[in-house]
């Protein structure tokens, strides 16, 4: 929000320049994004007020208070806006009644002014508004905007004449929930259809404003307006926020109400605006405010021990300093003993009537149920606990019966509920509680509380940690300070964040747990990068085009997509990689890419499931044979498996139909990636039809792996095997087999027959073409024989080779031996 520095200074007298004030606020309060000098020695401050302070600091008074606090002057030096006015004898309540029918309105205050003269605002007022980007309309509307900018309270003015009369002959304002589909036309002549969770300000007949958001056009101010009703109200923040979102209507008023402004501000701002209007437009201010609504002003107390403040900050800021800083913010600070206050409070409430469901804010201290009593008592101690006994049980540490101390909450099991009843241990073996049977607040022995053991102990909770504390009364405008930690923040930022020395923590020397998946992923990434692959990162989303390619399968869809390209969660990394190849292949001979990332799909039970996948893609601009690209990719896959210590990895091309994206893969050049019997992914070429859609002119080979599965099978453990003592013997053979024969089949046969003395069979050449019978290929193997016990003789080796050859020939394969 924009702020005028001269206006801030009007409330917080200071000698600081705008730039100095901005620096101070930035370091101690909130970020001043820029300072813009304007004419008249003035400056505009652009301050980023965040949600926690929007309730008090979206106003010049609020920022002035902050400046006074951080500059060390203290808020006691603040000069609040004040326009004295004269009231007539006639009472407002004689002509106007207000009925609040919904809890969503906390307080509604109104005043009536008769005989105003609508006209332009004086120059100074117009200038202030214009500097802050608000159009000057007339003196009445300008006055309400001015007071809102000054104090943060949104205000509204109705034209008296246009409000319909009630049967009593008075004018009547009704604050109620809207009817479903109730319509209203706002000041800017737009029509809105409301729902029954929105609040309206109505007269005796119809809605005249959307509460907390915008006024209606019917009772708006015109040049002819003479008599007016001024509204200063406060609403439950969540109601305004929901309505504002549902109507897609954000206004200066709704933004402030959403932030939960101080209900006590209603009365104060109404007095200021009445005075200002009388000053600007004359008229007779009727006497008194008409006030309605359930809100009761109360003291907000927070207790915090000096020790706790020091411990959380990690620096021994003195008690005196702490008190001084809090006073600067407007707090009243007392050093107290909580036990004493507890006894005093409890004593004062003895005999108050029991009422089930009694509100701790509205009905206390006149009636209580068990948990509203404990809530009320602890509020007097400056400790906020939950409203319901069940949650109160977990508001602190558990205590055993024999360890009870004054102030502990004691829970009794109910007939149906575990935490049916709660009382406060007040010492001397006694408990104070709001008793349903006796119908009042009583103090009795623990034994009686549990009705001589008839009722069960359900635990005790210690909410009070330190007894000697500072009891801090929070100024009513600071609704963000509710917890001791909030008090710590005030102390810390005012004392100086940068003054706190750095202290390395003392911690238990426990080795950090390692995330196995992450470790293996790093290894796999390193291997891929080292073997010529570039890591890419694509969007986690796909769009309509990809959905059309996939054709089937339920995708997880965004409810609020930003574009047709970013609409579904990716079920595969495939598309991103193809997209990347398509933008890179023109400039490169070889495009090798990999990506690791989450993919998303619905599980069988309809839950959203995400898995960590690792995928790679390879494009070769020129290759000797059409299968090169696949085999080069497979080689990289083998490198990964080798590094991960996985040796039973293989590609299985029987019955390959991936769950996701069957259409993405080449109809025959595809295989399951398996480790042992477990499927961990797919490898193959991209379907040529899909490549076409991406304008990729050559084959692309890809793999996709569920890396969480891979990681559970990975193992870095390697065992040393002794270096052989006896020399090995090598024989080479070439086997001519049909083109469709799988190398695996041939090799398995060789190894089976070769037995334990055949150390390895290493395929070193695959040959097709000239000198080969058509439809055949030649596979050349090194056969390596070795014994751990002796040097093998030529005769022994030749015998083994002969057996292998015989076996191969039995299969109809021709063998050539070198």
């Amino acid at each position: 929000m924009k702020f005028l520095y001269s206006w801030i200074k009007e409330y917080a007298p200071t000698t600081l320049s705008a730039a100095q004030a901005a620096e101070l606020l930035t370091r101690k309060s909130f970020e001043v994004e820029s300072v813009e000098k304007i004419k008249g020695q003035d400056a505009l401050l652009y301050i980023d007020i965040l949600p926690n302070r929007s309730h008090d600091a979206l106003s010049h008074l609020g920022v002035a208070r902050e400046l006074a606090a951080v500059s060390g002057q203290g808020v006691s030096k603040i000069k609040s806006p004040h326009y004295p006015f004269k009231e007539s004898r006639k009472k407002t309540s004689e002509v106007l009644e207000v009925e609040v029918r919904t809890e969503a309105c906390r307080r509604y205050c109104a005043r009536v002014i008769r005989g105003v003269k609508v006209g332009p605002s004086p120059r100074w007022l117009q200038e202030r508004l214009e500097n802050l980007g608000i159009n000057s309309i007339n003196n009445l509307v300008d006055a309400t905007n001015y007071v809102m900018l000054a104090m943060g309270q949104p205000l509204h003015v109705f034209d008296w004449e246009k409000l319909s009369d009630a049967s009593s002959g008075k004018k009547k304002i009704v604050v109620r929930l809207a009817q479903k589909n109730e319509k209203i036309t706002t000041l800017d002549e737009k029509e809105y259809t409301l729902n029954d969770q929105m609040v309206v300000i109505a007269d005796a007949k119809s809605a005249q404003a959307i509460a907390g958001i915008k006024g209606g056009s019917v009772a708006g101010i015109s040049a002819q307006t003479k008599d007016i009703v001024i509204e200063s109200a406060n609403f439950e923040a969540a109601f305004i926020r929901r309505a504002s979102r549902a109507l897609n209507l954000r206004t200066d008023a709704s933004v402030r109400f959403e932030a939960d402004i101080d209900p006590a501000l209603t009365n104060l701002a109404l007095e200021v605006v009445a005075g200002l209007i009388q000053k600007l437009a004359g008229g007779e201010v009727l006497s008194g405010q008409v006030v309605s609504g359930h809100w009761k002003d109360r003291k907000n107390l927070v207790s915090a021990s000096v020790e706790m403040i020091q411990r959380l900050i990690g620096e021994e800021i003195s008690e005196r300093e702490i008190i001084r800083l809090l006073q600067n913010v407007g707090c009243n600070v007392q050093k107290v003993n909580l036990e004493k206050i507890l006894h005093k409070t409890v004593t004062s409430l003895a005999g108050k009537p029991y009422k089930y469901g009694a509100s701790a804010t509205r009905e206390a201290p006149n009636a209580f149920d068990c948990s509203s009593l404990t809530l009320y008592v602890f509020r007097a101690l400056g400790i906020e606990i939950p409203r319901i006994s069940k949650y109160q049980r977990f508001a602190g540490a558990s205590v055993k019966q024999e360890d009870l101390e004054v102030g502990d909450l004691v829970f009794r099991r109910g007939k149906t509920e575990d935490f049916g009843h709660v009382g406060i241990y007040v010492g001397g073996g006694k408990i104070t509680h709001a008793d349903r049977v006796q119908g009042k607040v009583i103090t009795e022995t623990i034994k009686k509380f549990f009705q001589n053991g008839k009722l069960k102990w359900q635990g005790a909770t210690r909410v009070i940690k330190d007894k000697e504390v500072l009891l801090v009364t929070i100024p009513h405008w600071r609704r963000d300070i509710v917890l001791p930690q909030d008090v710590v923040e005030e102390v810390l930022r005012l004392w100086g964040l940068d003054r706190v020395p750095e202290k390395m923590p003392l911690a238990v020397l426990q080795p950090a747990e390692q995330d196995e998946v992450r470790l293996w992923l790093d290894e796999a990434e390193n291997i891929l990068a080292d073997s010529g692959f570039y890591e890419v990162k694509n969007y986690s989303f796909i769009g309509e085009r990809e959905k059309a390619i996939l054709a089937e399968g339920a995708l997880i869809e965004l409810a609020n997509p930003v574009s047709p390209e970013i609409k579904y969660l990716r079920p595969t990394l495939f598309f991103g990689l193809l997209q990347n190849i398509s933008i890179n292949y023109l400039l490169e001979k070889r495009v090798a890419l990999f990506e690791q990332g989450k993919i998303f799909s619905y599980s069988d039970r309809g839950m959203a499931a995400e898995r960590l996948f690792l995928s790679g893609a390879l494009f070769l601009n020129k290759s000797a044979s059409s299968a090169d690209v696949f085999y080069e990719l497979k080689g990289s896959l083998e490198n990964i498996m080798d590094k991960l210590g996985i040796d039973d990895f293989w590609l299985d091309d029987a019955d390959v139909h991936p769950v996701v994206g069957d259409v993405l893969w080449h109809p025959v050049r595809r295989a399951w990636v398996k480790i042992g019997d477990e499927v961990i992914g797919v490898a193959g070429e991209a379907n040529p039809l899909v490549l076409k859609q991406y304008d990729i002119p050559q084959r692309v080979a890809l793999f996709e792996m569920d890396f969480e599965k891979v990681a559970t099978l990975a193992s870095a453990e390697r065992e040393y095997g002794p270096i052989p003592k006896f020399p090995s013997a090598i024989r080479d053979i070439a086997v001519a087999v049909g083109k469709d024969e799988k190398i695996d089949t041939v090799q398995e046969l060789i190894e089976d027959v070769g037995g334990s003395l055949l150390l390895d069979s290493d395929l070193f050449d695959i040959y097709e073409g000239e000198n080969m019978e058509p439809g055949k290929k030649s596979l050349a193997f090194h056969l390596i024989f070795q014994s751990a016990e002796k040097t093998l003789t030529d005769t022994e080796v030749d015998g083994m080779v002969r057996r292998i050859i015989t076996a191969l020939e039995k299969n109809g394969w021709e063998v050539r031996k070198d």
């Binding site: 959380l312 390395m504 950090a512 998946v517 990162k537 890179n584």
Partner: protein, 362 residues
């Protein structure tokens, strides 16, 4: 043989002198290995001049032998010495010549094994993680598709609270029941920050703990040079019986100095995040200009790096911790932003376009 008999001792002695002169002359003229061999054969070969004389000694009388023998023997040794001296001279020369031919141009480019690269964000993530790992932080992960509870409620960001406006959220479409309103009531979303990992981790582990959680996060917005719909964050959390703001300052200062250099200054400013109290912005002195003011730091001398704060009691309570018994700090930073600052990248969209001309630079 006969003729030798006619030679007198004097003549033989004279012959030896001539042979020596002849040899010394010949040696000087030797230039090639062949010439060397010829010289050796001429003097020491089976029919060489010196060999002949030594063979003829047997025909002389004992007295004569005593005179001629040692002289001839001395000459033979001289010839042998000189020849082997010549051989090693010639060999050295040969080696020197060969070496001259072996010269290579070391300034020519090397032959490289073709290598790929990790993504700059991965590099940055590893760098940040390793600094914290050395301080005993464990790396943990969490889901990108999150529930509303972990992303917001468990972090003290209740429904209908304006704090939710700080995160523009991608919601997941759920089946809308017939007659239901069109309002988004979904409870699934794409996580808007890595902070849910805090809540998830604390739910399953007891303090003390030290973790960092790197990961991808999402924001519902229109992408531009400084905002993307997805980016990476690293979240940190330390919880223990007595963890203070002063502790957080020490850990973060250590981290920032490792990342940006020992002379880096750190400053803290108050801000608001619902899951911490107090909440802070952490700035580091501009590593580009050293704090004097430049384009990187927008002339302020400071660069905003982290959001941080002391864990809010409501977050502890949601995780089942008693806020009176533990305290802790949490922090978070954008990896994309760190990488942009470190590598002087001016458009965040480059990270997700995957142009090899970009990726090759890291």
């Amino acid at each position: 043989m006969e003729s030798n008999n006619h030679l007198t001792v004097k003549q033989i002695t004279e012959n030896l002198k001539n042979i020596q002169a002849d040899f010394e002359n010949s040696v000087l003229r030797i230039a090639t290995a062949q010439e060397l061999e010829d010289v050796r054969v001429r003097f020491l070969g089976r029919k060489g001049m010196l060999t002949e004389i030594l063979k003829s000694l047997k025909d002389f009388s004992v007295e004569d032998k005593k005179i001629i023998g040692p002289k001839a023997q001395a000459l033979k040794e001289l010839v042998q010495d000189k020849l082997s001296q010549k051989i090693s001279e010639m060999e050295n020369k040969l080696v020197a010549e060969t070496h001259r031919k072996e010269w290579i141009d070391v300034s020519a480019p090397g032959h490289r094994v073709k290598k790929g690269h990790l993504h700059p964000l991965t590099l940055m993530e590893r760098k940040v993680c390793s600094i914290f790992e050395r301080m005993g932080f464990a790396i943990v992960g969490g889901p990108e598709l999150e529930t509303e509870w972990y992303n917001f409620d468990a972090l003290n960001i209740p429904k209908d609270h304006p704090a939710r406006d700080l995160w523009d959220t991608f919601w997941i479409k759920r089946e809308i029941k017939e007659g239901g309103s069109k309002n988004i009531k979904s409870e699934w979303l794409m996580r808007t920050h890595t902070s849910p990992v805090q809540a998830r981790f604390m739910e399953k582990h007891n303090p003390p703990l030290r973790i960092i959680a790197p990961g991808r996060v999402f924001r519902f917005e229109n992408a531009n040079a400084t905002h993307e719909i997805q980016f990476y964050q690293i979240e940190g959390l330390m919880v223990g019986p007595d963890v203070s703001f002063a502790n957080m300052k020490a850990i973060l200062a250590e981290f920032l100095k490792e990342l940006f250099g020992k002379d880096s200054q750190v400053r803290y400013r108050p801000t608001f995040f619902p899951f911490v109290e107090p909440g802070l912005e952490v700035d580091v002195s501009c590593f580009n200009c050293g704090g004097k003011g430049c384009a990187v730091c927008k002339r302020t001398g400071w660069v905003e790096i982290l959001g941080a704060g002391m864990v809010h009691p409501a977050v502890f309570r949601a995780a089942g911790y008693n806020p009176q018994e533990v305290s802790g700090f949490a922090f978070g930073m954008g990896l994309d932003r760190l990488a942009m600052l470190k590598y002087k990248i001016d458009d965040t969209r480059l990270f997700y376009q995957n142009d090899l001309r970009f990726l090759k630079q890291f």
